[in-house]
Amino acid sequence: MRRLGLALVTCVFISVLSFVIIRLPPGDFVDAYIANLAASGSTVSVEQGEAMRREYGLDRPLVVQYARWMGRVLQGDFGVSMAWRRPVTEVIGDRLWLTMIVSVSALFLTWMIALPIGIYSAMRQYSFWDYLFTTLGFIGLAIPNFLLALILMYLGFRYLGLNVGGLFSAEYIQAPWSWARVWDLTKHLPLPAAVLALAGTAQLIRIMRANLLDELRKPYVVTARAKGLTERHAVLKYPVRAALNPFASSIAYLFPYLVSGSIVVSLVLGLPTVGPLLLQALVAQDMFLAGAIVLLLGFMTVIGTLISDLLLMWIDPRIRLGGR
């Protein structure tokens, strides 16, 4: 239950940081608003500016501002986006969920690929496949995910003549949710998920392989085989279980990395997720939007990590029973 407390603290930390980001650019929200309006031709009088300031509490000390902002956030009001002139929640819309879907898919992909390959590599050490996977793994680690996305997009465009970006086919982009739309999403998911997952997968394969190799040398493996079990059964049941621990805990920390990575990758691939929106918001100094995005991203990540932690606790009987 210490984990819950930690998660809570993290959330508070994130909220503070988000707030800092919001207030970071010189000048305040109203200044930027006025400037924005001025650019589009309308003007705001000084009194109107002052009134806005009072309304948003910008004339109060920072701590109070933070409290008021957080208060509104907890009620679901994230403020208004300047550039879009609409409430932030509307602007973000689906994008947050889509970001999470892409990240979680990448996580699943990582699990599904890294586990078997890692096990195989350890069992057949120095075999051809082992070398192949190790090499591929190194290359995967070396290419930053956005570069990979860029290269893939270029290749897809040049040689296949299609735009491999996006999460939906043209007709589904603005459509309301339906099973057909979900299916369309699923069809488009593999590429972004794979691009995101590559680096993490490569790393996890190495971790699994190294840990399994360590475990394979231990006496209990010999005991298992001395019982007459097949190599595969003995390995899968015993050392893999032991090597699963560090593997699972590495995965827990993979999630923030995936969410991070999805930001840049979604920019390259043109995914309708939070990434491109965040960049726009930051460049335009649309601070409520940017801050809200950072806050929500952070929260969701903490929740995701918490879930993985709990899963890990369930896997290891030692932690559960408090033994050893």
């Binding site: 006496p219 209990y220 005991t223 001395a226 019982k227 079990l229 009987p317």
Partner: protein
């Protein structure tokens, strides 16, 4: 009366390919394991005792492999099988592992997996070698735990290994080795990791089980005291070879090989004069990769005969008979004959 031989090992050679070249871990090991009797295998660390045990069960992994020799299970009978020729993953070999030859480990702490209950691990062993239902297997497991002297065995089934004491864990290890009803049990230093009192209990348990089930026990140890107490026959190993093989009384009363004599001298005696200098064997066991020329022991041998020991390898012991691989011993025998 000579008992029937349960396992006959002849000229077993095992090597490991390493970065420094080929290392001969076993260089022609021969001995007989008699049914219902205990063979004590003794030697310093690195002499190849564990490799022998693993090789018998074909559990030596790459980069090690068996390069020569035979390991005959039930020699001289219709069911004679040479374990060296079997495919290690074959059903036959896996049937042998646990079903005809059981293995008991040195470190009960690490020999049992911590992720599964004791019951789970024993029942798995039971069901591997017999086609019985889960419930029957469970009962058999409880029976086994009772046989090895664990009180209230039903409650222990759901315990995890780390919840048990060292002695109890070793008993579980023994139960697991017996799960498949093997006729041969190899115990690789079963008491080294235990304290003295527990040691005595485990040894007594092994003796009882052997009597009750007529098991051929191969007891690997470096402790001459354990040999004295448990063994019927003794094989002394040095650098991958058996240098002396004889019934236990002969080994203690009239050791044939200088190494055996040195080992016996090195045992501290409660009868010795206080503050007397402890006897040691000079030097250290050479790495199997840099084997001395001639007789492997001669650089450390206080009784060596000079040139012949440095240049030539002594004749191996005739299998099945008492003897020592030593020029000096040969001379003594020649003189006595």
């Amino acid at each position: 009366m000579v008992e029937r031989v349960a396992l006959a090992v002849r000229d077993l050679a095992v090597q490991f390919a390493s970065e420094q070249g080929v290392v001969r871990a076993l260089d022609g090991v021969s001995f007989d394991l008699q049914a219902g009797r205990t063979l004590g295998v003794v030697g310093e660390s690195g002499c190849g005792k564990s490799v022998t045990a693993r090789s018998i069960l074909r559990l030596v992994d790459r980069p090690g492999r068996i390069t020569a020799g035979r390991m005959l299970l039930d020699p001289g009978t219709a069911g004679e099988v040479d374990l060296a020729t079997l495919d290690p993953e074959s059903k036959t070999m896996r049937g042998v592992r646990g079903g005809r030859i059981g293995l008991i480990f040195q470190e009960p702490m690490t020999a049992l997996s911590v992720h599964y209950t004791v019951g789970n691990q024993i029942i798995e062993a039971v069901r591997q070698h017999s086609d019985i239902s889960a419930a029957e297997a469970r009962n058999r497991a409880i029976e086994l735990l009772g046989e090895v002297g664990i009180p209230r065995p039903e409650t222990r089934l759901s315990a995890y290994p780390f919840e048990l004491s060292g002695g109890l864990r070793q008993r579980v290890g023994i139960a697991m080795a017996l799960a498949g009803d093997p006729q041969i049990v190899i115990a690789d230093e079963p008491t080294t990791a235990l304290d003295v009192t527990t040691q005595a209990q485990i040894l007594a348990l092994l003796q009882r089980l052997q009597r009750e089930k007529n098991i051929a026990l191969m007891l690997i140890t470096h402790d001459m005291g354990v040999i004295a107490e448990m063994a019927d026959n003794v094989a002394v190993m040095y650098l991958g070879r058996v240098v002396e093989y004889a019934p236990v009384e002969e080994v203690f009363a009239k050791p044939r090989h200088p190494y055996t004599r040195a080992l016996l001298r090195a045992v501290p005696s409660i009868l010795a004069t206080p503050r007397q200098r402890l006897s040691t064997i000079g030097g250290a066991v050479p790495h199997p990769g840099s084997r001395p020329s001639g007789c492997a022991f001669h650089p450390r041998c206080v009784e060596q005969l000079g040139a012949i020991c440095a240049e030539q390898s002594p004749r191996p012991i005739a299998p099945g008979q008492a003897g020592a691989a030593c020029f000096k011993a040969e001379q003594a025998e020649g003189a006595a004959a």
